[in-house]
């Protein structure tokens, strides 16, 4: 078994104070991430502080100093933002631990509680497993049987943190099997 930690993009909380954009739904947070990435803002997907959580919420951290510009980018893109928190306190990030199991013909990549299994020769996704949110059986139906280079990214179809973790496993499987960035 191989253990590795995914390289982080720049962490806005590491060197300067950050705040959080809050959202009512995980897909909105993922949408905001795409908008901020395209606009060149440092950002990170994180869990909101405990007292602000309703379930499997996701927030986006950006440096406080860039809040105004980032908020404008989100507004112009039409992303529904629930609010802004200046001091995120106990915000935490989804785990970045990835493990790999080699079954011979198949490779299984595990990211947190999510797993993807791929045929090493054809690069076909033969299974997804783990997780407990309702988008996971849907992603199973949509991904299994497709090659890594033709399958949709789990985070483009999914709605929850389980979908996001499956995307991390997908991304790692692509890297391990030499499939270019999707």
């Amino acid at each position: 078994m191989i253990f590795r930690k995914k390289k982080r993009e720049a962490d806005p909380g590491a060197e300067e104070a950050s705040g959080l954009f809050l959202f009512d739904q995980v897909p909105d947070a993922l949408w905001a991430e795409r908008v901020l990435k395209a606009a060149g803002y440092e950002h990170a997907l994180v869990a909101p502080p405990h007292h602000l959580r309703a379930g499997c919420d996701l927030a986006v951290a950006v440096p406080r100093v860039e809040q105004v510009g980032a908020a404008r980018a989100l507004e112009e893109a039409g992303v529904p933002v629930r609010g802004w928190v200046d001091d995120p306190g106990s915000a935490s990030r989804p785990t970045d631990l990835v493990t790999v199991v080699d079954f011979g013909e198949h490779l299984m990549v595990r990211a947190g509680n999510m797993k993807i299994a791929v045929d090493k020769v054809t690069r076909t996704i033969v299974n997804t497993s783990g997780g407990g949110c309702p988008d996971i059986p849907y992603l199973n139906v949509e991904l299994v049987g497709k090659r890594l280079d033709e399958a949709p990214r789990p985070k483009a179809l999914g709605y929850t943190l389980c979908g996001l973790m499956l995307d991390r496993a997908f991304e790692e499987a692509c890297a391990l099997l030499g499939v270019g960035e999707r």
Binding site: M1, F3, Q25, V26, P27, A47, H50, R53, A54, G55, C56, D57, S90, S92, R93, P94, T95, L97, T99, V101, F103, E105, H106, M108, R110, G112, N113, M114, K115, A117, D119, V126, N127, T128, S129, G130, G131, G132, C133, P134, D135, I136, P137, Y138, N140, V141, V144, G158, Y159, T160, L161, C162, G163, L164, M165
Partner: protein, 299 residues
């Protein structure tokens, strides 16, 4: 003695379905006569529960499900329909499975179950387990079935979803599922009984490991979507059939592994292959696995 499974199925806008779950000869699954697509998740759980209850000659499980692909719409519809379903079905076991983990809805649902069917046994897995733990309701459940990627979540009082577990995660140094199950119990994050699904399945009662199931070894089961769900379905069915909880857990773990061996599991197979192997596995083994099994079959 009826099992009611409360969950979702992966169809955009799929309607609320309430009715007995039935497994056709070709392995297709129906709820109240309507087809439910095969995938990992609730279909796998219900398929295994159907196989087990049919083998034991018990009433087929009931299901309250709605279409949900992660937006939470089906989850909300299911919770809205729960009071009527409970009054109609009067279940002895209620199992919460693939649901959007929304703490407020789970709090209301558990309160409703305790009001309308106070003697019902509560089971949770998947999103139902995430919501129950995050909402601080885990000790009110009789059985939860975390895998090695989820037991650290139950043990960590600060997190509301397994994705945020940075400590206690499988793959980190010193990972010990039995110790995490003990911690989860101590911190109020666990049901009274846990089946920690892994290389060795640990059955934990009130924080103490009471059984381990390690044979047969079928590593490919972890890669097959839905094989944890089939285990949950088996355990829920055995509970509904009257098995003591630990016996239900042990028999479920054994049957799941034995079915994996019988189907000659590879990572490319499906949970429905495992469900198809269950009738023979149960016929050949269930009576010998525990006194409770034999007693139940003799009834």
């Amino acid at each position: 003695m009826t099992l009611l499974v409360v969950a979702t199925y992966p169809v955009v806008g799929g309607p609320v379905l309430l009715g007995p779950a039935t497994l056709a000869a070709d392995g297709d699954l129906f709820v109240g006569g309507a087809p439910v697509p095969h995938a990992q998740g609730t279909a796998a759980m219900l398929g295994a529960a159907c196989a087990a209850l049919r083998h034991l000659g018990c009433e087929q499980p009931w299901a309250l499900v709605a279409g949900d692909v992660g937006r939470g719409d089906g989850t909300r519809a299911v919770f809205a329909a729960l009071p009527d379903a409970l009054e109609r079905v009067q279940p002895s076991v209620v199992a919460f499975h693939y649901l959007q983990p929304i703490m407020a809805l789970m709090r209301e649902a558990v309160a409703t179950v305790e009001r309308l069917v106070p003697h019902a046994t509560l089971v949770a897995d998947a999103g139902g387990m995430y919501a129950a733990k995050a909402a601080g309701l885990a000790p009110r459940f009789e059985l939860m079935t975390p895998d090695v990627g989820e037991v650290g979540f139950l043990a960590d009082p600060e997190v509301t979803h397994p994705a945020y577990v940075s400590r206690y995660l499988f793959g980190t140094g010193g990972f010990d599922p039995a110790e995490l199950a003990r911690l989860a119990h101590e911190r109020g994050g666990a049901a009274r009984t846990l089946i920690v699904k892994g290389e060795v399945d640990c059955i934990v009662r009130e924080g103490e490991v009471v059984a381990r199931v390690a044979e047969p070894v079928v590593p490919a089961l972890e890669a097959i979507g839905g094989t944890g769900d089939t285990l949950t379905g088996l355990a829920s069915a055995f509970l509904a059939a009257g098995f003591p909880t630990v016996d239900a857990a042990v028999c479920a773990a054994r049957a799941n592994r034995e079915a994996g061996r019988a189907m000659r599991a590879t990572p490319a197979m499906r949970a429905r292959d495992l469900v198809a192997a269950l009738p023979e596995v149960l016929r050949e083994n269930l009576c010998t696995w525990s006194g409770a099994c034999a007693a139940t079959e003799a009834v």
